[in-house]
């Protein structure tokens, strides 16, 4: 788009001389940064876009900041888009979730189901469950919106973890970005909390059982458990208070925390500029890539719509969380098999494979749920959360880093990260031990023992293997780098071969 246009024809004075200022005057004005004089000298008038920008600038003074932002350089590598994908998922969750709130009734009060779903007609269900069925079967596009929302939540946590893994294995969290690692870690925790509270809202049999287990985990905390659980749930489970509370958490408090933390997270990336891979002209003191506007902004915008397209396809074609098939929550009823959404599966897996260990020390019971349900997740998440500080302690490296490591350049980090991922993978699979046992035609007891061994052995093996692989990879050329040393043979004009330096 042309920002300036000349008036046609040029204005002239009475003697036919152009009114345009001499070139020297123009150059001087431009050198002083005096746009108004320069413009007058050129006899140009501002375009419509300039007029709007000027109107805003006079009221905000942001013109130069906006220009810097538009000209900001973004590294051009696909792995840098994972964080953006997470942001897009968040936006889609906000949009679809807002639609859902218009129909959802966060009440545990009883009602009789009278909708079109025949198997449940006449059943006593909660108003929450009734409203989800109404939304799914009677509101046009309601089921699509619900399924897109749920699919997006499932993908959201996965993308956050992929983004976290990219940042972890390339060492992007090192000084000066420790603070942003903590903010990102907070977003992961909020993401899981959002998922769990949202998944509990329909008040179906499966999610009610999940809430029951969460209550048991809270109650297991020594000294405080029964009080904390009573405060959180408003009494002994099940209570009428818990649905409206989860609703407020899910649609108000957590999204507000999310939005604030995302703003800080992205704001810090803006202030600190991106890290970059060691390729091409990248150095510690520069950023190489595309301008934010238009290149990067268009790619990101396109990616947003492509993300939304995939999620729309999933939501339209692949059934997720069919609560009508599970039935309404009743405390004395349970279904089998019972699996939560995948990102909570590792917690359930830890509960499944932990041995029956419930010591009574000085009369104080340490409930069997406490260690696998509270202590182990607490330790694992703390390690992930404070990793930048652990690594700094181990390596003694306190220098600022803007160039990223290749994963194998930091064997201790790569090995530990892989071992933690392996641990989560084993626990997640263990969360489906009953389904796997049926699929593999194995007794669930034997499979549980296999998981009990794997949960210790696999992380150790993975640590050792990854460490050894990283060490062996060191010294070999990095991606895109010419191998150093050696001799190259080049064909000469005479048709023979000559040695050439590399």
């Amino acid at each position: 788009m042309r920002l300036r246009r000349h008036r046609e024809p040029p204005r002239v004075d009475a003697l036919g001389r152009p009114l345009n200022a001499p070139a020297r005057e123009l150059r001087e004005a431009e050198a002083r940064g005096d746009v108004a004089t320069a413009r007058a000298a050129l006899d140009e008038e501002p375009t419509e876009l300039e007029r709007i920008a000027g109107w805003l600038d006079e009221r905000t003074g942001l013109a130069s900041l906006v220009r810097t932002t538009l000209r900001k350089v973004f590294p051009d590598h696909w792995s840098f888009l994972l964080g953006e994908l997470a942001l897009f998922c968040f936006l889609i969750l906000l949009a679809t979730g807002t639609f859902l709130t218009f129909f959802f009734v966060p009440s545990a009060g009883d009602t009789t189901y009278q909708g079109p779903y025949a198997p449940l007609q006449g059943a006593t269900v909660s108003q929450a469950y009734d409203s989800v069925l109404h939304l799914s079967f009677e509101v046009k596009a309601g089921l699509l919106m619900r399924q897109v929302h749920h699919w997006t939540a499932v993908v959201f946590v996965a993308v956050i973890i992929a983004h976290l893994a990219r940042v972890f294995f390339t060492g992007a969290f090192r000084r000066p970005r420790e603070l942003n690692w903590l903010l990102g870690f907070g977003l992961l925790v909020f993401g899981i909390a959002e998922g769990f509270t949202g998944y509990s809202l329909p008040d179906d049999l499966l999610s009610g059982t999940g809430a029951r287990i969460a209550y048991s985990a809270v109650i297991s905390v020594p000294f405080l458990g029964p009080y904390l659980a009573s405060l959180a749930f408003g009494g002994e489970f099940p209570t009428a208070a818990f649905l409206p509370r989860f609703f407020v958490l899910h649609v108000l408090l957590l999204p507000a925390l999310f939005a604030g933390t995302i703003a800080a997270h992205v704001g810090l990336v803006f202030l600190q500029k991106h890290t970059q891979l060691k390729v091409g002209r990248a150095r510690e003191d520069n950023v190489v890539g595309r301008h934010f506007w238009p290149g990067q902004a268009f790619v990101s915008g396109g990616l947003f719509f492509l993300t939304a397209a995939v999620l729309a396809l999933l939501g339209g074609l692949v059934q997720i969380n069919p609560v009508w098939a599970y039935g309404p929550f009743q405390p004395a009823v349970v279904s089998s098999p019972a699996q939560p959404d995948w990102y909570v599966g590792w917690l359930d897996g830890a509960l499944r494979i932990f041995p029956p260990f419930e010591p009574v020390i000085l009369g104080i019971t340490i409930p069997s749920v406490f260690i696998p349900g509270v202590v182990v997740p607490g330790i694992l998440f703390t390690i992930v959360g404070v990793w930048p500080f652990i690594e700094r302690r181990v390596t003694g490296d306190r220098a600022p880093h803007h160039l990223l490591d290749w994963p194998w350049e930091a064997p201790f980090r790569a090995a530990t990260g892989s071992a933690i991922l392996a641990l989560f993978a084993v626990l997640t699979l263990a969360g489906g031990n009953d389904v796997l046992a049926a699929f593999l035609q194995l007794p669930v007891e034997g499979l549980t023992w296999i998981f009990r061994i794997l949960v210790i052995a696999l992380p150790v093996v993975v640590w050792l293997v990854v460490y050894a692989l990283c060490r062996s990879r060191q010294g070999r050329p990095a991606p895109g780098e010419q191998p150093r040393g050696g001799v190259a043979l080049v064909r000469n004009r005479a048709g023979g071969w000559e040695e050439a330096d590399r």
């Binding site: 350089v73 596009a141 089921l143 699509l144 399924q147 059982t209 287990i213 048991s216 109650i219 297991s220 458990g225 029964p226 009080y227 009573s230 405060l231 009494g235 002994e236 489970f237 002209r281 520069n286 950023v287 190489v288 238009p294 290149g295 268009f298 396109g302 719509f305 939304a308 397209a309 995939v310 396809l313 939501g315 339209g316 074609l317 009743q330 405390p331 004395a332 009823v333 349970v334 279904s335 089998s336 019972a338 509960l351 499944r352 932990f354 029956p356 009574v360 009369g363 104080i364 019971t365 409930p367 069997s368 749920v369 696998p372 600022p400 803007h402 031990n433 009953d434 007891e445 549980t448």
Partner: protein, 283 residues
């Protein structure tokens, strides 16, 4: 304009055209009553066309030139932080007014405590609620419909979920009445007398994480929790034999009445469901 650019431009236009058409299609499907699958596909193509068009536009028709920007150290150095510290404290005179500082902290702390107390309104103190269930001496065993359960309605190896009369569906009162048979039961002491006619009643709330223990393997005489596979031996007082549960399912003392119904002799002798820290202390 090169040929490649012309081709890219046509492609972008085609993508946007697809978006426009499927958008109209979506409206049509909606007007005709809606269909989840069709709407999902149309929405995906609609959004996908827009996304693909924009990406092709950016990649093929905009400058892909590699740009470079300088990066400067983040901090402003010791002077900067000293200036901030000075601005924060100089006019306020904090260093000269230690007493006032302490007073302010105390006041803020007191105020915070006063504001935090209402959190306690969120739930009642647990009191004895975790130790008790609605079962009382003389409670009749009823089903989900609050109708008394008859012994002859449960065949050998049969299982029924029962509740104290007046509390059908109760979360902590839910109990399994199992017709185990006198010859297989190996209960000791009082527990043996609480199994009239080979009928034994255990709390249905798993002592691990509180799920209903919903599966019964009659051949082995084992109750299994579908949530985490805790397995309990019905014949030997529901002691855990596999899985993460560490406590037996509490046994409900029951007696068989002359009319074939059952009544409880009292509440469970111990807390039902998941353990908590003071369950042994306050027994």
């Amino acid at each position: 304009m090169t040929r490649r650019e012309r081709r890219a431009e046509r492609l972008v236009l085609a993508c946007f055209g697809v978006t426009l058409l499927t958008g109209l299609g979506l409206l049509g499907v909606y007007a005709m009553g809606g269909d989840t699958q069709l709407q999902g596909i149309l929405l995906a193509v609609c959004l996908g066309g827009l996304g693909a068009g924009i990406v092709v536009w950016a990649q093929e028709l905009m400058s892909n030139e590699e740009r470079e920007e300088e990066r400067h150290p983040m901090g402003t150095g010791p002077e900067g932080s000293a200036a901030v510290a000075e601005a924060l404290t100089d006019e306020a005179g904090f260093s000269r007014r230690r007493m006032l500082q302490g007073g302010l902290l105390a006041a803020v702390g007191g105020r915070a405590a006063a504001l935090a107390i209402p959190v306690l309104s969120l739930g009642p103190a647990p009191g004895r609620s975790l130790f008790e269930t609605p079962w009382k001496k003389g409670s009749r065993l009823v089903g989900f419909d609050n109708q008394p359960v008859h012994a002859d309605a449960i065949p050998q190896d049969g299982v029924l979920t029962v509740f104290p009369e007046g509390y059908p569906g109760s979360a902590d009162g839910q109990t399994l009445l199992i017709h185990a048979g006198t010859d297989r039961l190996q209960l000791q002491g009082d527990a043996a007398t609480w199994a009239p006619g080979g009928f034994v009643a255990y709390s249905k709330v798993c002592t691990h994480a509180g799920c209903p223990v919903g599966l019964y393997r009659a051949a082995q005489g084992q109750l299994i929790c579908p949530c985490h596979q805790s397995t309990f031996d019905v014949m030997r007082g529901a002691v855990p034999v596999f899985g993460p549960a560490a406590r037996p399912l509490p046994q409900l003392p029951i007696q068989l009445e002359t009319d074939g119904t059952f009544t409880a002799l009292g509440d469970f002798g111990e807390p039902v469901g998941p353990s908590f820290w003071d369950m042994e202390l306050d027994r």
